[in-house]
Symmetry: C2
Subunit: 203 residues, 2 copies
């Protein structure tokens, strides 16, 4: 299924206690209650220091995300909603959104087109691989989507960006993923606001 160099990668900003978002995510608080920008502060306040890491986050040839990451709503689509990212989303590539509700593809400025996939995680991965060609496919989140791909053994490289923050409740990464084996493939690096950990998932 995979071409020679294409991998499935996943970058996630995570709290030290394993959360990627707090409870009750909403339009006003996309990362849930009590979280704000604290997990991603390094991307803004230390953008230059982490330029290489930030570049890698959006370098994939195609992306996959859960419905919850695309939209605060549930159920039938509000067709006026085009994602959190404005007219020109930062993906600049096809993005495959997992959903139970069909929707026509949504082309945005800058090369991002959102495709809506109702066939499940493997179908979405197949389409993303095809779109990405030799480039990587990135699982963009949220936690439930990443955990499903991890449990299914479909992620090659997991890059955790651990903020020195305790969230305490909400969306937990690495939950119900089974006893997967990880192997560090890069030395950890860090700053005041984040530690970068890079793991290969051993098959």
């Amino acid at each position: 299924m995979s071409s020679g160099t294409s991998r499935v990668v996943c970058d996630m900003a995570m709290s030290l206690d394993g959360y990627v978002a707090g409870p009750h995510q909403s339009l006003e608080q996309p990362f849930g209650e009590g979280v704000g920008d604290r997990l991603h502060q390094w991307m803004f306040d230390e953008a230059e220091e982490h330029a290489e890491v930030i570049e890698a986050v959006t370098a994939a040839g195609a992306f996959i995300m859960g419905r919850n990451m695309f939209s605060p709503g549930r159920g039938a689509w509000d067709l006026g909603w085009t994602g959190w990212w404005g007219e020109e989303p930062p993906y600049h590539a096809p993005v495959f959104v997992l959903t139970h509700h069909e929707r026509e593809p949504l082309p945005m400025k800058g090369g991002t087109t959102f495709h809506f996939v109702t066939g499940g995680i493997e179908a979405a991965l197949e389409r993303a691989r095809e779109a990405a060609g030799d480039r990587d496919v990135a699982i963009a989140g949220g936690a439930a989507t990443v955990n499903q791909y991890l449990a299914a053994g479909l992620i090659d490289e997991l890059r955790l960006h651990v903020a020195p923050v305790i969230i305490g409740r909400g969306e937990r990464l690495l939950h119900d993923v089974g006893d997967i084996t990880l192997e560090p493939v890069a030395a950890p690096t860090g700053s005041r606001l984040v530690t970068h950990l890079t793991y290969r998932i051993v098959r």
Copy 2:
């Protein structure tokens, strides 16, 4: 209460998903089901590489641990039980064990004496500080004990030794500790088997 240089430190080996032990700890499986030596393998297989870190783990002038870490039993004491560590435990210093059941101090070879404290975490810390003098006091575990001290704001430095392992259930560190603020105070270092993260707890 504290002397000039004495700090309260805590070293914990933790899985990537935040556990320090699996469920159902027992005499046969002190770290619970499905864990074995996986969280501490770096201490044995890469002892030389991590010599400085390992040295720091036992460098304190006094230690505090929960009853659960001293003994697999509950309720009244089995006076024949002298801990998991044989005749000469690796602490070589006073160890204060939190318990609801009084027991006479238990001197062991090599300078370790187990003291049993029924007055709660602050009473234990007061006695440990007194015993440690200018040296650090170490909170040795397990998770419930560390979490209590973190929630009470009584730990100065938290040193996490994160193994690339998913445990999935059991004793979770950093759970119910409140929204404490951490600040990395050393660059992360790592090997194939562990990543060392050092945080100061900001007051």
